[in-house]
Assembly symmetry: C2
Homo-oligomer: 243 residues x 2
């Protein structure tokens, strides 16, 4: 069995998971959609989620690496270690993981044809992958190894991305595991190379709103128009508008 999977570890990200799940359906996917939730998620939100996806409860796992999270400027990402529990879901043969702050623009079912493990480059350091979108196969062994790695070495960025890059370290030299950047386009990274967005933007399959300004944080006018947040580029505002 195959499934899309996302994660809601704090109530505020539920908006993302709901929009994401709806969008997958709107784009015509009939795959199962799974949402991992932690015990702190309010029951009202779990009810909402369960209308559109399979809700699976997991424990919170936190990184304790505050130094690296501070370097990243994102203390709240300690909770992203929770993500590794998806490798325990061996009832699914293949999983396409999507962060709750991702938003597909096209049907992406073709991702299930990609080998495990596949991911797209991270714009900050393109020899690492970004861990907001990936294709993988659950395996209890992988879960145990990830858990061991996290307690022995921790994560070089304090979040799941550093941990996963250390574990799947063959990614950078293995071309078949590399997804095009259009499957994890991060318009919020500040050196955005705007001309490339113009040139290749029509190819974008998944937008990923990395960083602090999540689309659900923007204020909207009564006609639905988004109020710009920060000094962001106009193209980004259009993408948030679409969300």
């Amino acid at each position: 069995m195959e499934a899309y999977l996302t994660l809601v570890a704090t109530d505020s990200y539920a908006a993302g998971a709901l929009i994401l799940s709806n969008q997958l359906r709107d784009l015509g996917s009939t795959k199962e959609i799974v949402c991992l939730v932690t015990p702190n998620i309010s029951s009202h939100i779990q009810d909402l989620l369960s209308k559109i996806c399979t809700v699976i409860q997991v424990d919170s796992i936190r990184s304790k690496d505050f130094d690296n999270l501070q370097l990243l400027g994102r203390p709240e990402l300690d909770i992203t270690f929770t993500k590794i529990q998806l490798w325990r879901l061996t009832q699914y043969k293949k999983i396409v993981y999507l962060d709750a702050d991702t938003f597909p623009l096209k049907n992406i079912d073709e991702l299930f044809d990609r080998p495990s493990f596949s991911a797209a480059p991270d714009a900050g350091w393109p020899d690492c992958f970004n861990s907001g979108v990936f294709v993988t196969e659950p395996s209890e062994t992988a879960f145990n190894e990830l858990l061991a790695l996290s307690s022995e070495q921790g994560s070089f960025d304090g979040g799941d991305q550093g941990l996963l890059n250390s574990y799947f370290s063959s990614w950078s030299t293995s071309p078949s595991q590399r997804l095009p950047f259009t499957f994890n386009t991060t318009p919020t990274s500040q050196y955005g190379y705007a001309p490339a967005h113009n040139q290749f933007g029509h190819n974008i399959s998944i937008i990923h709103f990395i960083g602090q300004n999540k689309p659900w944080k923007y204020q909207r006018f009564s006609d639905g128009k988004v109020l710009p947040l920060g000094s962001a580029w106009e193209g980004l505002r259009n993408m948030v508008q679409e969300w």
Copy 2:
């Protein structure tokens, strides 16, 4: 014959070319170093350059695509089309091109063993390459095709990088042409993924100071210490300090 090649199209970049050439020698390379200069470069600066490298005069070629350059925020990059004249230098079999704002930290002669055309991903859109560092073989045909492309289609970013990415468009799907990001690490791109710089920084072979804040623009105290410019990350200041 093989050569490193850089470009000085305005006097202000000469500091970069001089430091770069000296650094290549300090790191033990005995390869020829060539600097392309345009007619506007003052004779005093040409004299200085010719003490350390082979100076070759070329015409200025300018892009007229001000819309895309504005999108990039870099109107001055119209002159980077001048770069394509390196493909005319068929007296060299293989060239390692380095922007004047690059700074090697290790001997990089191994780049001459890479296939033509090789380049590293651009941090803004990692399915494009950054055109500040590349390995190529001069060819009159390539030059003529680049010239034709530039007048027929222009460049999607208004500078050489857009043009070269359109011409060498197989790069993104051809793993053997991909240089590690450590051969063109761009610490000035603002989403810098600082933890990755900490983790992999010791592997960096070439720093590339992309953007407006070139290392020669920083003020320095009398003891040589650099005065921070803009809101840049501390790791960047250390790299400018090293320049």
